[in-house]
Symmetry: C2
Subunit: 690 residues, 2 copies
Amino acid sequence: MNLKWIIIAAGILVCLNFSMVAQQKPQTLLLMPYPANVVQQEGSFRFSKAFSVATEGPANKRLYSGASRFLRRLDGRTGLFFEQEHVTAESKPAAQGLLIKTQRAGEVKLEEDESYRLRVGSSGIVLEAVNDIGALRGLETLLQLVQADEQGYFIPAVEIEDSPRFPWRGLMIDVARHFQPMEVIKRNLDGMAAVKMNVLHLHLTDDQGFRVESKVYPQFHEKASEGDYFTQEQIREIIRYADERGIRVVPEFDVPGHATSWVVAFPELASAPGPYSLENNAGIFDPTLDPSNEKTYEVLQGLFAEMAELFPDPYFHIGGDENEGKQWDANPEIQAFMKKHKLADNHALQTYFNNRIISFLEQKGKRVIGWDEILQPNLSKSSVIHSWRGPKGLQEAARQGYTTILSNGYYIDLMHRASDHYLNDPLPKGNTLTEEERKRVLGGEAPIWSELVTPATIDSRIWPRTAAIAERLWSPREVNDVEDMYRRLDYISFRLEELGLQHKRNQQVLLRNLSNGKSIEPLQTLVDVAEPMKGYTRNPGGTTFKTYSPYTLFADAAMADAPAARRFNRLVEQYFQTKDEATKAEIIQWLEKWKENHALMLPLIAQSPVLKSIEELSANLSTIAALGLQVLSADAGVGSAKKKAQSAVDKKRAKEQLQKAREQGGRTELQVVDAIEKLVLKDSTSSVGG
Amino acid sequence: MNLKWIIIAAGILVCLNFSMVAQQKPQTLLLMPYPANVVQQEGSFRFSKAFSVATEGPANKRLYSGASRFLRRLDGRTGLFFEQEHVTAESKPAAQGLLIKTQRAGEVKLEEDESYRLRVGSSGIVLEAVNDIGALRGLETLLQLVQADEQGYFIPAVEIEDSPRFPWRGLMIDVARHFQPMEVIKRNLDGMAAVKMNVLHLHLTDDQGFRVESKVYPQFHEKASEGDYFTQEQIREIIRYADERGIRVVPEFDVPGHATSWVVAFPELASAPGPYSLENNAGIFDPTLDPSNEKTYEVLQGLFAEMAELFPDPYFHIGGDENEGKQWDANPEIQAFMKKHKLADNHALQTYFNNRIISFLEQKGKRVIGWDEILQPNLSKSSVIHSWRGPKGLQEAARQGYTTILSNGYYIDLMHRASDHYLNDPLPKGNTLTEEERKRVLGGEAPIWSELVTPATIDSRIWPRTAAIAERLWSPREVNDVEDMYRRLDYISFRLEELGLQHKRNQQVLLRNLSNGKSIEPLQTLVDVAEPMKGYTRNPGGTTFKTYSPYTLFADAAMADAPAARRFNRLVEQYFQTKDEATKAEIIQWLEKWKENHALMLPLIAQSPVLKSIEELSANLSTIAALGLQVLSADAGVGSAKKKAQSAVDKKRAKEQLQKAREQGGRTELQVVDAIEKLVLKDSTSSVGG
């Protein structure tokens, strides 16, 4: 083979390249998750109107529809007007086409083979996979490979062998706090498929609502959803849609805590007398099912029997988190029940409850998943521990023989940066698990809890960061260069819009609304350096924002990775390393833009009072940008003139201004303060420049 | 009353103002459709966090949910964090609140009272209506009235009395050519409600697909939809969603022509032997139901009995258009049948067929609507004639005693400008119908035929132009100033995004895709002066674009009213009238921007081959902009210098260049050629300037 240069991403070259000689390395392809093995070659495959797709192997509906979707997406991107409408069993291999070879029909189940092999050459493309699900993964890679030049669209010749590191790569959507309708679920399934995720976990019930129709106990959706729930027909449609994309659907019914909606429907199942009403705040609430009441088991079994059938996946999530047991402590009958059954504490009582549920669900062919807290002595070993509290719990559970899934570190609702999630490895280097224990770590899930998330903003809370998590769970551990991840993430983020995801377009709608229909440019400049307050700080006490609060504000338009801040912070870092003039010039450009921006914001704010909450934030950005400019322009002087200008920055006052710029505004925070502070105050500054 | 100034929009003042002293008139409020009577007063109502909504009158679910939605939309816009979550029967009137008074529950039916009266004063707002549907119309007006200044959000004191001119104000969505999923229907129902439309007409079947589930004859949706159809549960959900907004849903099952999908499901009903497959092209096709076959009536009656129940509205559309009768002519059995039944021609045969269907549907409590062509001698007088061929047909039908609806002139798929539709009146001034005949003209419908329309682009093909049609059908005939309509339309267009409509945001997604993720600015500049080819010219022969073609191209991003062209053309007109320097300066700004734009487009095109089809269009814009600049800068000279510079424009060459700029590119056309030509070539130019 006439190899030009080789990248084995999985191996040694790339990760060495990335971390040690970042400037010289050849650009990797814009693939995410990055495949296990990539070998680039000379030449390329060029697309024309005659491009077509054929298959070889047993007839396969999932493959035909997936390949037809591939064809339409490619046609939509290239505008080539392909002649082929559908891929079917009759589609004939063409000279300049794609041939997909599979050996058998895939099953949408845990541990199904998802590997594929892709060979792109000037005369054609061959995609081989054991089954259609692997082929679907390969088709997504193929779409990411498409490039363009003046001659047209092409894929550089390449050989890829790829398979996932972990078999469980999930996105959990909380449809309880803010209901998320069908189109949100569907477009996010498309996004998941694009980054090779394979589990959609639906958090269906919580204090704020019960989101699925029950025909056995209609009071659940009728009394406890305010009309926002999935019908069973819709659930089947979600499962079908996910199945077409090789994605499993795992339901969660959270018990015995987080149960306000349950007891709104069935007050008699509560551990304290009602009446109850749906919760509008965020937080941990008291209503808890009564594990001493046989009626509780009767209703749960009736419901779960129905739901076990509705959701065919053998995994079934029962929540189990954050039960503080207050109602249990206060209920003498429950206390008597505990004494009678020799249950020493609330943990033991919950385990008693869990084991009854687990044993029932096992009869229905289900394996039960629960959050961290269900891991207590005597918990059935068949349970899967879903770790949200920390990697220690995960490893401990695996050691004890439990199968586990990691979500700690992947809480995308907390608005941490993609880089934070990216470096969070379910099996970090140097972990001390045995080979067998390691196998019990199935993978991970990114949960989007929806207290502060509506259908209009959810995409920007999930994407593009979830693509970085998807890569962590699919790609080899050694693919971990943050800068390169961001470079590819920017591209993937843009491409996700093509699929219908709305993270970027809806930001602009929010900004247009906030600017009252005027030009959004100054607002865009500001939002590009501001990030929503992280962790649980945006919503103090869980009561500032209620379920019905407006989620149409500046903080809702802000994203977790403020793009201009990311760029600027890197420039400043680079400047301190290289003292490069071009870098400095770009830093100055940014600072000038920000310095001028507040003057542009003021007339916007004057006619849009909803922007008042960010007036100071905007002023602070301009103030510290001016500080930065003052130092950098001083820096441009020489000798004593330079020193003089620099000393003109009143350091005490500058410190105060920088401190002020750290304050939140409109529940967001500026992300360029540290970098500007470095420019303004660090001793090293005086030695940098000209 | 302390009136500051008065506008009676319905009456004389405004229309005189608009057309005669456009510069001096007080700005009308940004309302659309403009109410029948508006009296502005001094003072204003100011919103605070404590704002709340209460009702007076009989308990009314539709009103409570509508008022709650109003509250959330207002909260989303103002960010005031209203304390009130829901409006219920228990909501208590507040000092600084809105009180809604109704007398009875409305019914979602033709001719229901939709009037309302709105009084906004500094101490509160009172909305009165006969029923909740009128109240919903008033709430939309209220949201359009909200303004802002540095002190916050307010509504200027005003008294409005309003009711519709026509009782039938519809949007027809063709879900057959390109299926439109639930979220498209729902967000468009929201848009319809915002502009007080009250009929959603679903064109459910055509040659390209049969889009509704039949439990009686499942072969229709199973064999003839490629999986894209509404389930009956979804239809019920659409009807419920529409009902909540005071909107009727009228189904259309197009027979006996446009019937390819019918005969894909039931080949034995066709007038010629099959087999048939779903159509992928646009146009008029041969497959026609066989009216001589009793089985045809058996199936139609089985299906229609089912559908008559599924769709509760008493109106039922049977299409009936564009049956060219080729299969009938060629079928000897049908010819024999005609002879036997003394049916002289195909028209008579179709009327025979129609009357059998009509009589069956009447037994089911339905009144039948059909397109123009059903109007033939002997057609049952109970039928409603839906006019698509011209106003003559409409008036003729009304004269003959038929009830009518106008769609001719409202075909929004043809990409004509809003102004064209706006001035198209179902009962134009000077019509010669009698009072009684006039009453038979129920109103109109804007049809969006979906040959070239996908879920991603449909909103920009419907909105904002449909708001102008909605105004034509709601507001008094005398509200007809085009400039003022555009001023208000721009505002309404922006507000429609708040409701979830995607006309603007999706344009940007298309442009980002076309620019391959690069800055879209040059493309936006170009698309803002280009409009898709109008009428049926975009898709020659109906075969250039098939159902599965890419609708992601420049023409799909272009809108019917290119906004920069509209602005520029007005400036040039103004300049020729006023010779005003400020106007000239803005003209020059535009021309300079366009002159430079091609240089910015070239690198974009070089890395995005899909843009090649507009390379010439882009070049032409720059060329003619340069021509315009040459003349205008010559114009700036004085005396002989001026004349000299002007003569430097080679008129013959300029004419050629202008001619070339009229050619389509990427199936779009530049909309500033005439105005630039006027600047460059018209004699008057030489007398304009300096």
